[in-house]
């Protein structure tokens, strides 16, 4: 990046300059991200679902009658037979319990985002701290953390979640925390540690030590910021796995939640419509495709971010 920049003055306050710098970096990274192409498609899908999620409360408080369109206790009195195929009133039809599918889809989108965000934030927090601490301190800290990570990695994810959710009441909050901890301590932590290892041997870390900086200063100021791009990438993968796990667990009927995409499929399945692909497509496709699309979108975004943050994958 040998881009020469117009000289910047410090006449206005420092933070504005810094904001400008941040914006510049963002622009550059965005450009690299756009070049990877597939990520843009993913991002578009994510934005689409975010809009759906945001639109739901608005629709509920304006045009949609709560008793009909509530995703959980609504009931479409207009239809004589449930599930009803798509109509003007119910663009995606109703489910076997007479609830509007579009409303369920939109409502669930929000909880999927919340779940993904929670899991991702937990992963990043734990992953960066574990990675940075293990790499910086080395020795016994490293050994303990990495042995723990080994165990986390060994945990067969879906199976652990199945066992846990069968045994204790698991809702979105617990699920997000569990996935976040498993991924943060396990895979993400290990990857971030190897990244952190390449950071802690850099001369600027030694320079900071020579300057008198303590471990906390170095980890927070030098190590963690250098891990953030990579952890952001793993955030995306965590979101994917969180949404996917939620869907699978709901599908198996193991979560104590009232509505989600997985539960929509479960409702379809337990009502016996899951194999009626042509006859009851509106029960099967919206939720299944949403899960697939959102999962793969986050994954694609993660992949594209990889091209941005991994200099070895950058194009000439």
């Amino acid at each position: 990046m040998d881009v020469q920049r117009a000289p910047r003055s410090v006449d206005h306050s420092l933070w504005r300059t810094r904001l400008g710098l941040a914006a510049d970096r963002l622009r550059e990274n965005w450009a690299a991200f756009v070049r990877a192409r597939v990520g843009v498609i993913g991002l578009a899908v994510i934005i689409f679902y975010a809009l759906l999620a945001a639109a739901h409360p608005v629709l509920m408080s304006t045009v949609w009658d709560e008793s009909i369109y509530d995703p959980v206790v609504g009931y479409s009195f207009d239809e004589t037979r449930q599930p009803a195929p798509p109509s003007l009133r119910h663009p995606l039809g109703t489910d076997p319990l007479g609830r509007d599918i579009l409303s369920q889809l939109m409502f669930s989108a929000r909880s999927e985002f919340m779940l993904g965000l929670l899991a991702a934030v937990v992963t990043v927090c734990i992953g960066t701290m574990v990675g940075a601490a293990a790499a910086y301190f080395g020795g016994i800290v490293d050994t303990i953390l990495m042995r723990l990570a080994d165990i986390m990695i060994m945990m067969p994810g879906i199976s652990v979640l199945i066992v846990l959710s069968a045994l204790i009441g698991v809702e979105h909050l617990e699920l997000g925390l569990i996935i976040g901890v498993l991924s943060g301590f396990g895979g993400t932590g290990v990857v971030l540690k190897s990244q952190a290892l390449s950071v802690v041997v850099k001369p600027y870390i030694q320079a900071a030590r020579v300057a008198g900086g303590g471990p906390l200063h170095i980890i927070l100021v030098h190590v963690v910021p250098n891990l953030l791009p990579l952890s952001f990438l793993y955030m995306m993968f965590t979101v994917t796995s969180a949404i996917f796990s939620e869907a699978v667990l709901s599908f198996l009927g193991l979560l104590d939640i009232r509505m989600s995409w997985g539960l929509m499929i479960h409702t379809t399945e337990s009502a016996g419509y899951l194999t009626q692909v042509t006859e009851a497509w509106w029960l099967i496709f919206p939720a299944s495709l949403s899960i697939t699309l959102l999962c793969s979108s986050f994954y694609l975004v993660g992949r594209s971010l990889d091209e941005v943050v991994n200099p070895r994958l950058r194009r000439a």
Partner: protein, 333 residues
């Protein structure tokens, strides 16, 4: 340049560093790399002292020991810049160590790696001030700007908020120098500061370091593999081989009349930028042998063109005065 009567800025005494080889957590290692092995020298105030040798000879480790980036296995490092009494740096901890860090800084070899790519020039230079809680925010900005001017990055304001990737190698090394100098240390370890720079900017950086040393009265430990560069920078040099100092003395004396066979070989191997000159062939074999558990005899024995049975059967030779302050560790000289 060591003047009688005044105490040296830094006195290193029997400094050693050993690394255990592939330590297994349940067993204590009994195999060691002797990276630095009983090194002793002195650096006077404002003096530029050179440490030369091939890669793997322990010169960088010595530098890092002096600024306590590593803890020495044994030996003493007595530091005395006149402000406070002499302190033994080798065992400092906590607050005193942090205070010592105001006085001793380091410049690293690789200008591309010595700046955090996510931090601006300002962030990088101000870091020591911030960490040491020196001055107010404005004071610091002021000092950084002054420092930028001093290292020749002008106009200083235009450089403040550049990122490392927006700077050339030479500019980065100037920033690194500014970072080391901004808290006005009295001792700086410069680890190959120019070896990765383009030829056309090397001279500038060398000149800058000389100027700053003179202006701020800084003692340098100048680590380099490049004898020519050392000749231009240092008043005294020590030649290291496998963790040992094999020759030490005034730069010109050492380079003009090397005593130790290793120094001689080193000198004769340096290519001469003059097509008309034909150098005599180097008489020793290539390749430094590893310093893993070296036998007790002279470290240079394996490659020495003049070694005899005495060298094989005796300890590593001590440094002996060979001619007016020029010391070498060789039995055969």
């Amino acid at each position: 340049m060591q003047t009688d009567g005044s105490r040296p800025l830094l006195r290193v005494d029997g400094l050693s560093k050993r690394f255990p080889v592939s330590p297994v957590w349940y067993r204590r290692s009994n195999s060691f790399v002797h990276a630095v092995d009983g090194v002793s020298f002195e650096v006077a105030r404002g003096e530029s002292f050179g440490l030369v040798g091939e890669s793997g000879c322990g010169k960088t480790t010595t530098g890092k020991l002096l600024v306590r980036l590593m803890d020495p296995t044994c030996g003493r490092i007595v530091f005395d810049d006149g402000d406070e009494g002499p302190v033994d740096v080798s065992t400092l901890k906590g607050k005193p160590l942090k205070r010592f860090r105001r006085k001793a800084q380091m410049i690293f070899q690789d200008p591309y790696e010595s700046m955090n790519p996510r931090r601006t020039v300002f962030d990088t230079i101000v870091e020591p001030l911030k960490v040491q809680r020196m001055g107010s925010h404005l004071d610091r900005l002021d000092r950084v700007l002054r420092m930028l001017g001093l290292v020749g990055l002008t106009p200083a304001r235009t450089f403040l908020f550049r990122y490392p990737h927006e700077l050339s190698g030479g500019q980065r090394q100037r920033v690194a120098i500014a970072r080391a100098m901004v808290i006005e240390p009295s001792f700086v370890v410069a680890d190959e500061p120019i070896s990765m720079l383009d030829v056309s900017v090397r001279a500038g950086v060398m000149r800058l370091m000389e100027d700053l040393a003179a202006r701020l009265e800084i003692g340098y430990l100048y680590i380099t593999h490049d004898l020519a560069a050392a000749r231009h920078t240092c008043s005294r040099i020590a030649v290291m081989y496998l963790g040992k100092i094999v020759e030490i003395g005034e730069t010109e004396t050492v380079l003009q009349s090397p005593k130790h066979p290793y120094t001689q070989a080193l000198l004769s191997a340096v290519p001469v930028p003059d097509p008309t000159v034909t150098r005599p062939p180097v008489r020793i074999r290539g390749g430094v042998s590893p310093s893993l558990d070296p036998p007790a005899r002279c470290r240079f024995y394996d490659r020495c063109p003049i070694a005899d049975d005495f060298c094989r059967d005796n300890e590593h030779p001590p440094l002996q005065d060979k001619s007016s302050g020029q010391m070498a560790s060789c039995y055969r000289v």
